[in-house]
Symmetry: C2
Subunit: 194 residues, 2 copies
């Protein structure tokens, strides 16, 4: 909460993941949403029924958007998008993880996943900031969907190379592990603004 | 808690998923663990760092085992297995989801995922109870790993056809949505015992 308070001028959205939600309780989403819209990075990858329930809980707790895996299949994506629509929320679809393992199985499926995200009417894709060439290709396939790139900073992704191609970059550890999170957030903001 | 209390004689393990944990809090795992060992069905599919943190929280809260997606890549699986080892916990790896969407992307990767689960030293695989032929093939590839099958009951999986091949079947809704959960759990137990 302290970091959200200090950095809110320099960030567009706040992404929360399971480690935070599991240790703080789902109410943390509503609390953070007082600063900026919150993306629930739950990387949903379950059957449609369970995925719908997870999405419903996120949106009931004031999430603005949710992150879902495309590899779970089109039925799961459609179910999550259906719930999001009821709440006026958004859905972002993981194409490839930014970690090295993202190149094993996800790499082969990611172009099709980006296309599927577009066909189903999702709002954007998550593309690996650690692989700018892949981001460009996935952005072209996703035609018009927003592109969010994780993997910046600690994971090695270079922010400069993503400036033209990403709509948003996800920076977690570089900010919240910094001695001065506000200064770090502002620095990144200024690089992006160019 | 009431259902766990009523059915404990007829079940081997209790599987919890995110909808329950998000709405009841992570402490629900420890409470249910008083009845039977709990599998945290978190279908982890994140980068290794985040996946490790999720696993750590599950095991700290008395989970006996955790479910991870193989699709995320070998680095994620290794990270989760590493955390499990510290806690003496087990890791089960999803090969294919039991839902129709499991045949889209996961189907192409699932044989390799089963092999990977074995190589990394995970404890078992999750194989689709809705597709018994696939379960047989995946079990052969996973040589000796335990096989857990979801998709029984509401999703259409037939329990009889899995008796020889599955070590455990996951039955959720058929039990907890039954008018008499204990009777339903006992019925399934008796079918499995043969």
């Amino acid at each position: 909460m302290e970091i959200a308070d200090k950095t809110e001028r320099w960030v567009s959205l706040i992404k929360v993941n399971y480690p935070l939600v599991l240790s703080s309780g789902i109410e943390i989403i509503g609390k953070l949403a007082k600063f900026k819209p919150v993306i629930a990075d739950f990387k949903i990858a379950d059957i449609p029924y369970t995925s719908s329930l997870i999405s419903k809980i996120a949106f009931e707790n004031e999430a603005f958007a949710i992150i879902c895996h495309g590899f779970a299949g089109s039925d799961t994506l459609k179910a999550v998008k259906g719930v999001a629509r009821e709440y006026g929320g958004e859905v972002y679809v993981v194409t490839e993880l930014s970690s090295p393992g993202g190149e094993e199985f996800l790499r082969k499926a990611s172009n099709s996943i980006a296309e599927l995200a577009r066909k189903i009417g999702c709002d954007g894709i998550i593309a690996p900031g650690t692989r700018p060439d892949r981001v460009k290709e996935l952005k072209e396939i996703a035609k018009g969907l927003k592109v969010i790139c994780p993997g910046i900073g600690v994971q090695g992704g270079d922010i400069e190379s993503l400036r033209e191609v990403a709509d948003y970059v996800i920076v977690g550890r570089s900010i919240y592990q910094a001695e001065d999170p506000e200064k770090e957030a502002r620095k990144i903001y200024e690089i992006l603004r160019g």
